[in-house]
Amino acid sequence: MSAASVAPASSARAAVGGVGLPLLRVRDLDVTYAGSVRALRGVSLDVPQGCVVAVLGSNGAGKTTLLRAISGTLPFAGGSVAAGSIQFAGRDLHRMAPAAVVRAGVVQVPEGRQVFAHLTVEENLRAGGLAAARRVRATARQRVYELFPVLRQRAGQRAGLLSGGEQQMLAIARALMASPRLLLLDEPSLGLAPQMVERIADVIAEIRRQGTTVLLVEQNAAVALELADTAYVLEVGRVALHGPAAHLAGAEEVRDRYLGGAAVKEGESAAAAKARIATDDGQRPVAAVPELVVEDLSVRFGGVAALEGVSFTVAPGSVHALIGPNGAGKSTCLNALTGVYRVAAGSARYGGIELTRLRPHRIARLGVSRTFQNLVLSPAATVLENLMLGRHRHGRAGFVTTGLRLPAARRERAAQEDKVRGVAELLELSAVLDRPVAALPYGAQKRVELARALCAEPTLLLLDEPAAGMSAEESARLAALVAQVRAELGISILLIEHDMAFVMGIADQVTVLDFGRRIACGSPAEVQRDPEVVRAYLGTPRREAGR
């Protein structure tokens, strides 16, 4: 151990005052966005001095919101603390500006690394140390370069040129420059290769050994539970479970939901149900729905391959899931298929028509429709207006007929509205058709997006994380709805999801991507057992988690 392992100067003070009191105390925290969307409800959390506390949960559970509340950056996202308290070493963090929070000793490493790409590594570190006193900075820099020797080597390089793993290390190093007593880490393993994840985990363990307390937010439950002393599981803004990490790792609920354990059981019974639907539904117009054949698809961004040689086939009328770690290229694949990204090589043929040469609106006219990961609705418009946009390709009223209110335009609008109301009823949106979309809760907004995609009467529906931010109950309802849509309309569905229960329950075929390449393809049960998939995505606990 080197001289730089000297703990931050203020830890001496901590050792003297209140050993029993947790360093960070969150009590009954309520956070809302734009005054209406409740992101956190009554969350209570304790982070004892010198420990690593993990916060787990799926997308939209509120983990990032929790960190934002602590670091004081809620206003940037339009959020505010509605109730509850956050206390750090006895001080109320609640209304402090971010700069003050940093000076108090709490520093956050944001999600997605967020390095300053145009600044060099050294300048990034310097930015991180701005809040600290000058004499502390030199020590901090020493410490940082010892933890991350590779950064010392790349000190003069622009941060944008570093690899993902190196950027993550830079982001952590940057935060350490302020010599924090409490380090908040937002999903450090996001989109990193397993070996890199292990390196980061080692670093976090070392940081903790040096005396810094860590609050770790992670989707990769295996790694988080490995590192942590205690853990909390957030679901839809509430603390669903909490306790010592070892206990939680063994808990069946955690294994099922976050370690992808029990989905196999569900998958088997759902497959039987699917088989039933397939045989006795004679109305399904399979012939009308073409096949999507993706062959050797490659997408590159300035030299970096986001997708490399990916191939899969979506059989007519089937549900095909695309899974993999964040940054694996799943959204890139959807974007390439819908003409948003240009393809570097390979082909995607829908009913024999080559998609990669067409502009997005032409692909839409072939019957391909999609939803987005980050909602892209018109917030001020009503639900009805948003859904009507989905009918665009079925309409013909132009500038002349609409502007002059010719009868043709009026008739068309009436017919479109009928269709839209039908879809709205299917998705239980009839009651809110006349309300502005922005006033609806997040789950309802996601349903509006799905409804809009359905209004286009697609034959191929692409869903980008449809269940993100939904509670277990909501996502089960959504899965049933998707299955129903497929059964009634007979359309093909290609979906991206992290929620393993959701995927395994309704998918016929699963393709697994990692680093832009396909690493597995097959039925849900096959894929779940595939060792490559387990290693890259589902997680290998360094100790046996499953018993």
């Binding site: 670091s71 950056t73 940037f76 996202a77 500006a97 971010p98 700069a99 940093v102 000076r103 520093v107 956050q108 944001p110 967020q114 300053f116 790409a117 145009h118 600044l119 300048e123 990034n124 310097r126 930015a127 991180g128 701005l130 809040a131 940057r174 302020a178 959204s331 974007n335 948003v340 987005f372 990961q373 980050n374 892209v376």
Partner: protein, 297 residues
């Protein structure tokens, strides 16, 4: 040939002044994402203060006072007014600066009235002769001052804490605040800097051989800042410099070869920079050095 070299020399020196104006414009945009349509009025304000007080305080004193006053006014506009509309659309913010510009320009024009204000600079109408090339002394001084200021500014930007903070905040505001960087302070400092640059530019913009300090200076300055900043890329300081030089050279050459270019119409010199700007945008939609926006869906 002689004419060409003279025009080149004068164009470069005018370009230095234009670069100063563009730099102030770009500093504000870089730090706060606001297109400051009031920048021209700030230039006029700087010139006006010098014009009014140089007889009492002497030239040096007038310049110092002008820089101080303009910096303060700029900071007031930026910090006070625009912080309140932080959540508004960028178009709205631009229109707010338009409103400020109207108020400022009208008041300054009224105060100048029919007075003939001069800058009272020590170089007057003297001319420097190098070989057969004649350049007004004010222009030489302008070029020297501009180079010094630009080098100083770029050094500050690259080497000091504040410079790092500004660049970090310009790139990612929320992440920068996680580091303890206060976007409000960074913005206020950027506005003050813009004000100081505007005042200095105002001095040279209205000195010989230009006709003097009048209400139209504001419009003229904005008419330089916009094409220069846009063709260089709104968020690039290098772009502002290149843009300023391009605009100065264009204006000088067009005016110099006016006879040969008479078919393009009278007064083409004022419009030529905009034409150059449009041509650059056709090839590079974000300006020569502007950052490319990426869409994340």
């Amino acid at each position: 040939m002689n004419q060409f070299v003279t025009l080149l020399a004068n164009g470069v020196s005018l370009g230095c002044i234009d670069a100063l104006i563009a730099l102030g414009f770009v500093v504000v945009f870089k730090a706060t994402r606001v297109v400051n349509f009031a920048h021209g009025s700030l230039v006029l304000l700087g010139a006006y203060v010098i014009g009014r007080v140089h007889e009492n305080l002497g030239f040096a004193g007038a310049v110092l006072l002008s820089v101080a006053v303009t910096a303060v006014v700029a900071a007031l506009v930026g910090a006070v007014l625009l912080r309140r509309v932080r959540l508004a659309e960028p178009g709205t913010l631009a229109v707010v600066t338009l409103g400020v510009d109207i108020v400022l320009a009208t008041d300054l024009t009224r105060r100048i009235g029919t007075d003939l204000l001069t800058t009272g600079d020590p170089w007057g109408a003297k001319v420097v002769t190098i070989g057969t090339v004649h350049i007004p002394q004010t222009r030489v001084a302008a070029a020297v001052v501009a180079v010094v200021l630009v080098v100083a500014f770029l050094s500050v930007l690259r080497f000091t804490d504040w410079g790092v903070a500004l660049r970090a905040a310009a790139e990612r505001q929320e992440t920068a605040s996680l580091m303890g960087i206060r976007p409000g302070r960074v913005a206020a400092a950027a506005w003050m800097l813009a004000g100081g640059l505007a005042a200095t530019a105002g001095l040279f913009f209205t000195a010989f051989p230009s006709p003097g300090i009048s209400g139209s200076v504001g419009q003229a300055a904005l008419g330089v800042a916009v094409p220069a900043a846009v063709l260089g890329g709104l968020d690039s300081t290098t772009g502002a410099l290149v843009g300023g030089l391009a605009v100065g050279l264009t204006a000088t050459f067009v005016a110099g070869y006016q006879d040969q270019l008479s078919f393009l119409g009278r007064g083409f010199g004022g419009v030529a920079p905009y034409l150059v700007m449009l041509l650059v945008l056709l090839v590079r939609p974000a300006g020569l050095f502007g950052g490319k926006e990426t869409t994340r869906v």
